[in-house]
Symmetry: C2
């Protein structure tokens, strides 16, 4: 009781919730600039702001830019500079159609900051860039810049169902209140659009790829149109996931055959209907013939036939088809990681110009680490989009800290060698290495209706990082982390430096305590929280031993010529490097190789010992995060401090479970003791295996 | 586009979300007192505050009171009076064990305000009363008071599932994040407890009455204990809904027979386990043999046998059993509204002392209007608890404005005549008319994880009203509405007076556009949103015509001697008054009588015309609410103003649908034209009947 009193006294000594930082404002907090000198520097340098576009005409987008500047500068500086719109023909060509140029010139009454762009939306992006510059507490001397997005369509993918359940969503219900729409427009809709625009994101797919055809009925389209109206001033175009069998389910047709004239006519009419309501509709995202979703194969047609059906209907309106490459089948004896490659390479060149093949970063499924998807190097005549997962389906949901920018950078910077060295995935995606036309990057959202949008207070860094990388994939993980930390926790380096460090190390920590050395898909069944190397599912490709292949001889997936030969799907340079355990990086070793338990690693340790040490390092990594965070006591507001502290406590416990369960399981095969320094398991293997997590967040099976 | 630009310009002219009132603070906003004179009056009168208890010992509860006072007075007044704890033996006996006495005395250095109570929790209640007094901007001359709750256990009932879906919940996911508990304790938990304590509520049932046995497993009990720890400083005891068959489902037994020794032992051990974790655990709420829930009937036992099983296990620890009287069966030919009466009156006197029979306000199911439940007048030897529904299952969810205090007062003030005149339901419930011991009032929560807790910004008034009436059922609906309006929107009477008026009229408006003149259970199937007089369900007692009995001759449920004779379940005085259409109030007419379409009403109109006029009045009532609200433009912050405005727009549209659909349906039988002044329907009947609302919020069938 004494302890309890003490805890309570501490809790009560801090300000009540009304004064806490609830996270709702994300990185757009616009806190007053603390340093009087810096504030004066800003106030003096920002007396006049010009928003320059070719026409100089007012618009909702420019109104949004003006409002954001007014609000932000008022809050940060207590200043109200004049902000006026001007017509100006010339903009630096490097700004392109969507970018912006910020210049600082000397006017008669003092400096003039001009945000110029070819389109109004560029001005809005420039306004957010200016505000970010101030939030970072950077000197105005660095303000002048030219910036343009490298990828034309930068899109959120929401796996939100119509009942507001979010598949793999860990931050509450869907943001979209379909029942009250279209009449009631939650304030969040606009703040969501502001958050997207502040990063330069310009599209959003509202509904789950496991799609419900009802979204395409007139009543729902009115609701979609209401959201589109809310988003439009922020340059956000709305997309929908389309269910392939919608012509049957809501159209009254007997077939969804992409070559049936009635089906073709139905989709044309449906698309017309959509564009009447939403003139800037973005297009369709389609998951077909994958995990039970209907598709063209039912009618003996190919993925290209299916995609082109939608493409032809959308083309007159400028809409895009994002056709997902995430396909695999239980009855296919080919290694799961090879199946999409096999199917889609055969279709290269057969897709319409307004189709993009949307490919996950890796060939499996958003594991904590995968090599890049070989399709990125193998479809020169197809526009390829990348799909990243912001929500942490396999990295601890909204409970674990895992900053994903390093993971995404790892893939974007990967060299496919498709057109010689420096044929990076990023250059394939941004369009420099394939046919001209739109380019797309998609991110599966981690948002929900929790007060702070993302559940874990530090998970908003992933939303931020996705948006920033979508704009410019050459930014470093460190730059992005530092921006976010400063904007979210204030520019005090005593806070932002350790938080940046925590973020940067966090993903590798998760890899180590869950799936080190290239292990993959050994998580618990269904909900994907926690360890499950023992999982035997109803089909082999959902069973863990399909992937870890542990046996008395060793561990790891044999994907060389003696195994599934998945290495053959990569360029010869990579196949050679990864195909040899001596040159394959440790991080991918067990992805490509089944190796003996006593295989000698670079560290000098044998595989079993190295595996155990990595698991231990993962646990210790979380403890390091805890130490870093605890040192921020008093420097971070109490509400966020306590929440992250408790989340890290849970993460440490979960990390120990991962380590103990996996090592106990694999020890059955290795028959070796844990090396020195690796803590003994808390329970026996049966205890971990008996655990059944019910009603896990974000898992469709529990709803 | 012009119109769109205008709308946007208006929206952007208002402050951004960061400055809006998001509703999170509920009625505990503690806004600065606007009038300098009044503020000075408060500051001068509140320099010293004494918290007086018999021991004068510090405690978590007193720390909470002190913190709340410090925070509230600082925010409202910018003042920091001394707050000290003193030992004082004497408290006004009228304060009882849970109440408080506030006195103002002259000390040497100025006035001293003393909050004295027999228990620490009374001091906390007194502190909230003091803060409410200030929020209401009332003069300190009225501060001295003695107050005590009339009902000993004032309990929230959450119909929250373990997957965070809230049955009949319209404000997002459950507040309880079971996955992250017990480690992560959301800030909301404490703010929830603060809200409850501010009203004097002292208990909460965390999970749905359609219970999942898993809540009783060790892992979940640890999570429950974590919530109990968060709530304890605010005097909130935790209760759980217990699933009758838990001994089978999680206990490994073959039976749940309440007289089986193994079952008895299992529950005793389970209760021991709970009290070890939660020493102040409140007890169990049980829904048994009702709507598919398991119960004692499976074993040939009675409800009393079932309740007493739990009671005996809980008694040594001081726990209570809340046994729900909401039972009815499809295969029972007795009128549904008579079935619980028949079953439970036969058991009067058979329940243990720590059992309370928890009875809904009316005999059917939370309709917009019902007569009181006849059980309240018929079980003199049983402790009876009342269950009210704060969430608006049949009154428009979180989309319609319906202030429910008048509905609850109507029932609480109803005279059962059980022990002569003035045997009101309230007096039965508060214990004055039945065996001594604990008394209970329960309210089915309307909370969720939406930012403002209750979805509709005005729906928090129902949470507030439930709590205030639970403390003192003699408060008027008007008093409570005025308190809430002032605390929630500020003390400016230009705002609080019209909002109070809107609240007070709103429930009757909903009655009129949905189920006027005593009509009931004619809503759409399953989700209960909107009209469904035509519904024919799989069982008669879920079909609308079971209740409205419309035919060529007339309309209404025949419940006199020639009908189901439900009137016989009431006292002779009531049976006589309600049994005669000439003396039965219009509001209950069709509840008790099947009357010809040309029956002459008090208004002079025939029944058909009166029915139509009432529906029209309902629609016009919503339009009146819209006008009242629109007049508050500029007086209410933009965020709440816009949201309520759009909600009222939707409500008006929904009200028209109710009117048009019901009148078209009943017109098939009345064969009469709509009277003058009643607007023509927008569509034909088939259109309304064809509407299928999918994925409605809060409806279990859609998850």
């Amino acid at each position: 009781m004494k302890c309890f009193l003490l805890v309570l006294a501490c809790a009560l000594a801090a300000p009540l919730a009304v004064r806490g930082e609830d996270g709702y404002r994300l990185w757009l907090r616009y806190e007053p600039v603390a340093s009087p000198d810096l504030r004066r520097h800003y106030v003096e340098g920002l007396t006049r702001i010009v928003l320059a576009t070719p026409t100089g005409a007012e618009s909702p987008v420019l109104a949004a830019a003006r409002m954001e500047l007014r609000e932000g500068l008022d809050r940060m500086l207590g200043a109200n500079p004049t902000v006026r719109v001007e017509a100006r023909a010339e903009v630096d060509p490097a700004a392109g159609s969507d970018g912006y140029q910020v210049t600082v010139t000397k006017g008669e009454g003092g400096p003039v900051v001009t945000i110029a762009a070819a389109r109004d939306i560029g001005v809005l992006y420039g306004a957010f860039a200016l505000l970010r510059h101030l939030q970072m507490n950077l000197p105005l001397s660095g303000l002048a810049t030219v910036s343009a997005p490298r990828i034309s369509q930068r899109i959120m993918n929401h796996w939100d169902n119509l009942n507001r359940f979010v598949e793999r969503g860990y931050a509450g219900f869907s943001l979209w209140d379909w029942y009250q729409l279209p009449e009631v427009r939650d304030r969040r809709y606009r703040d969501y659009a502001r958050a997207l625009a502040s990063l330069g994101l310009n599209g959003t797919v509202l509904n789950n790829v496991n799609a419900n055809a009802l979204i395409l009925t007139p009543d729902y389209l009115k609701k979609v149109a209401a959201l589109a109206d809310e988003f439009r001033p922020y340059g956000i175009r709305v997309y929908l996931s389309a269910r392939f069998s919608a012509p049957i389910e809501i159209g009254g047709l007997k077939t969804a055959d992409p070559q049936d004239p009635a089906v073709i006519a139905w989709w044309r009419a449906k698309v017309e209907e959509i564009y009447t309501l939403i003139p800037d509709f973005g297009g369709f995202l389609v998951k077909a013939n994958s995990e039970g979703q209907p598709g063209p194969h039912e009618y003996g047609r190919t993925h290209a036939d299916g995609a082109n059906l939608f493409a032809d209907a959308l083309a007159p309106h400028g809409g895009l088809v994002l056709w997902r490459a995430f396909v695999y089948a239980a009855d296919n004896s080919l290694d799961r990681v090879r199946q999409a490659y096999r199917q889609f390479t055969a279709l290269d060149g057969q897709f319409r110009d307004n189709v993009l093949l949307q490919i996950k970063n890796g060939p499996l499924d958003f594991m904590p680490r995968e090599p890049f998807h070989p399709l990125f190097g193998a479809m020169p005549r197809t526009r390829l989009a990348i799909e990243l997962q912001i929500t942490q389906e396999y990295l601890g949901g909204a409970t674990h800290l895992a900053y994903l920018a390093p993971m995404w950078k790892e893939v974007l910077d990967s060299d496919t060698f498709a057109k010689g060295p420096n044929s990076t995935v990023a250059r394939v995606v941004d369009g420099r290495l394939r046919p001209p036309g739109p380019s797309v990057i998609s991110g599966v959202a981690n948002t929900g209706n929790e007060r702070n949008w993302t559940g874990h207070p530090l998970a908003a860094a992933n939303w931020y990082a996705f948006g920033r990388l979508a704009w410019d994939h050459q930014l470093t993980s460190q730059q992005i982390a530092e921006e976010w930390a400063r904007m979210t926790f204030g520019a005090n380096p005593r806070v932002s430096v350790p938080i940046t460090r925590m973020l940067l190390g966090s993903r590798e920590i998760v890899v180590n305590y869950s799936m080190p050395l290239g292990l993959h898909h050994i998580m618990a069944e269904g909900h994907h929280f926690g360890p499950g190397p023992w999982v035997v599912a109803g089909r082999p490709d959902w069973s863990s031993n399909y992937y870890h292949q542990a046996d008395e001889r060793g561990l790891g997936a044999a994907r060389g010529p003696a195994g599934s030969n998945a290495l053959a799907d990569y360029a010869p340079e990579l196949a050679a490097r990864w195909g040899n355990p001596a040159t394959c990086p440790d991080e991918l070793l067990l992805w490509f190789h089944h190796l003996p338990w006593d295989h000698r690693m670079r560290s000098g340790r044998i595989l079993w010992d190295e595996l155990a040490v990595r698991y231990q390092q993962g646990v210790e990594g979380v403890r390091g995060l805890q130490q870093d965070w605890d040192a921020l006591l008093g420097l971070v507001d109490d509400e966020r401090f306590q929440r992250v502290k408790s989340l890290l406590r849970r993460q440490e416990s979960d990390a120990r479970d991962w380590r103990d369960a996996c090592l106990l399981y694999f020890q059955q095969y290795s028959h070796r003791p844990l090396p020195e320094g690796v803590e003994s398991p808390a329970h026996d293997l049966a205890t971990y295996q008996a655990r059944k997590l019910r009603y896990a967040p974000g898992h469709p099976g529990d709803y």
